[in-house]
């Protein structure tokens, strides 16, 4: 039987800058679970350019259908209920890109992703960035920005945190931070020591590679 993997011969083009940063952290040929994979942009790139064994979980039916239609292995489900089934260390990387702040129970979800993945790559909007602090101080209202563009009553981001908050939660859960960086408004890395006071003040997004101690 001639079973070949020709996927690597059809590489995909550029993806969103912040997704590209995540993609660059993933080792070739590894097993990857993308939790909250959306329309599968990152997963598709990883499968075709890095030859990963990629899986996804997506809450929205439209997202799942779009993924499966393009040949990606994605299930309809959510981080809250569907991570607990997976055996420990089933994946080399579990990706939680812009998803943690939208879960009901971020603490449990974070604990689960470092259990089922040997490493987890987590990104989230930093609520501690200076202009959000300033907006809250100046207007006395929940900040609405380019990246957090919904009013408080309709936002899916129900558990916003700052970079410092995230670092504290990792400490509580016995999670080791292997790599940390902050990104600017366009998703490009900023040359700041992270985590740290300035990173928390100037970073629009936090991007962490973490694992169980």
């Amino acid at each position: 039987m001639n079973v070949v993997n020709v996927s690597a011969t059809r590489p995909r083009g550029a993806i969103r800058v912040d997704l590209q940063l995540i993609a660059d952290m993933v080792t070739d040929g590894s097993r990857v679970l993308d939790v909250g994979c959306g329309d599968g942009q990152l997963l598709d790139w990883l499968v075709h350019n890095k030859d990963v064994d990629g899986r996804g979980i997506e809450w929205s039916q439209a997202g799942v259908n779009a993924c499966v239609r393009q040949g990606l292995s994605v299930i309809q489900g959510d981080a809250e209920t569907d991570l607990r089934d997976y055996p420990s260390e089933a994946f080399d990387y579990v990706i939680l890109s812009q998803t943690l702040q939208a879960t009901f129970d971020p603490k449990t979800v974070l604990g689960e992703v470092v259990r089922i993945g040997r490493r987890a790559i987590v990104s989230f909007p930093n609520f501690g960035v200076w202009h959000i602090r300033l907006l809250l101080l100046a207007t006395g209202k929940m900040p609405v920005t380019d990246s957090l563009d919904s009013a408080w009553y309709e936002t899916p981001n129900i558990h916003l945190c700052t970079i410092t908050d995230f670092v504290e939660l990792c400490d509580d859960l016995g999670i080791v931070i292997e790599q940390a960086m902050v990104l600017d408004g366009r998703g490009r890395p900023r040359n700041l020591r992270a985590p740290g006071f300035l990173a928390n003040l100037l970073g629009e997004q936090g991007l962490f590679v973490v694992k169980r101690r």
Partner: protein, 399 residues
């Protein structure tokens, strides 16, 4: 050729419709090569009827086994030889369609216990010279799959590119994936479950009791008596047919509309269109189906419980599997609701299997898998394209 090898070539023959010669292929397995059954008995000699579409490629890597549902048969994509109606998956299987016969070699086997050429209770028991009737051994989904494996072996196919089917066909897909994982590259179980629910067993029992209550059933020996339990089988079909639809679909199709009349008749004629429709479903079904086959095949579904076969934990059925799975359910299916597919997804995740799962929004109920559902077609084609890429199958020639 040794006496233990199957003979192929002759056309299959339907035991119903006075021995109608059927299109497709047939394999006769001699008494020396019986089929061991889950009930402990073994069946031999026996015959398997199957149909194929498209052609098998040189390295035999493009074969798709389609598993049919309870009342389906091997005539997937052609005019049915008994009813003259289109094949049951004609808009799904064919050149340029989702199961593209320009690209894939499609095989569909009439299930063991069926009545379209594969040995079933309507056939003659060679030991007695009489129809098997209720002396036919009780068969299981596992037995059906074991019989299909004989065909796949005969065709020399080491690994099926895909095994696909809905409802009872989906149960066979799961059985294939659990029993012969190394021979199933990808699996598409549609609108099915890892076990038959109490409610589904209950509906089957209603159908069986309707057949057995028909005096023409003659304790299962109607063939010998020259009779047919048409009323019983028809009622069984009517009851089952309701479970294949949904309240919304029935309302959309019929509402409370009356059949060829302006007012109710104050009697028990088919006043309502929905009654007339069901009666029609029942009466056309009996032309092509054997009542005892219906008893045996429904029983096989009742007995299906994949977790029980694997020490009570469904995950054990799939441990270490390399098969790529794509599960689909339909929102309005109350016979095999989405929760059943989700339970399978959880078990497959626990086995760290490669799995996709899509729930299709439709009001058409369980039967949606047989109907024109573009979202469903797109899901299966996308999944198969991804699998074909991994297996290195060439893309089909553009028309």
């Amino acid at each position: 050729m040794s006496a233990a090898e199957p003979r192929s070539g002759a056309a299959p023959v339907a035991p119903i419709g006075s021995g109608l010669v059927l299109p497709g292929r047939r394999l006769d397995f001699p008494a020396l090569d019986p089929l061991p059954l889950d009930c402990g008995a073994s069946l031999g000699p026996f015959t398997i009827a199957y149909q194929t579409y498209g052609s098998l490629n040189a390295d035999k890597s493009n074969a798709i086994l389609v598993c049919h549902a309870l009342t389906g048969d091997q005539f997937v994509a052609e005019t049915h030889p008994v009813t003259g109606k289109p094949g049951w998956w004609e808009h799904f299987v064919g050149p340029g369609l989702t199961l593209d016969t320009n690209r894939y070699f499609i095989i569909c086997v009439n299930v063991l216990g069926g009545c379209m050429g594969t040995t079933g209770p309507a056939n003659t028991n060679p030991e007695t010279g009489q129809p098997w009737g209720l002396t036919f051994p009780v068969i299981t989904v596992g037995d059906m799959v074991r019989a299909q494996l004989r065909v796949i072996d005969h065709l020399g196919i080491e690994s099926l590119f895909c095994v696909i089917g809905g409802s009872m066909g989906g149960m066979q897909v799961l059985q294939w994936a659990a029993a012969y994982p190394q021979r199933v590259f990808s699996a598409v179980p549609i609108a099915c479950a890892a076990r038959h629910s109490a409610q589904n067993i209950a509906f089957h029992e209603v159908g069986r009791q309707a057949i057995m209550a028909d005096p023409e059933w003659c304790q299962g020996e109607y063939q010998r008596e020259g009779k047919r339990p048409e009323r019983g089988l028809s009622v069984a079909r009517m009851a089952a047919h309701i479970t294949y639809l949904s309240e919304a679909a029935l309302h959309r199709k019929f509402g409370r509309s009356l059949q060829d009349r302006d007012r109710v008749s104050y009697g028990f004629d088919a006043d309502f269109q929905v009654e007339s429709y069901l009666r029609h479903q029942g009466s056309t079904f009996v032309e092509r189906f054997d009542a005892n086959s219906y008893l045996y095949i429904t029983r096989a579904m009742d007995y299906f419980d994949l977790a029980a076969e694997h020490g009570g934990a469904l995950v054990n059925a799939f441990r270490g599997t390399k098969t790529r799975f794509c599960l689909t359910s339909f929102t309005s299916d109350w016979l095999f609701p989405t929760a059943e597919s989700r339970a399978l997804v959880h078990a497959l995740n626990a086995a760290a299997a490669n799995v996709s799962f899509v729930e299709i929004e439709t009001d058409k109920g369980h039967d949606a898998f047989l109907l024109d559902e573009p979202e469903f077609f797109a899901t299966v084609s996308g999944f198969l394209n991804g699998c074909a890429e991994h297996r290195g199958l060439p893309t089909p020639p553009k028309p």
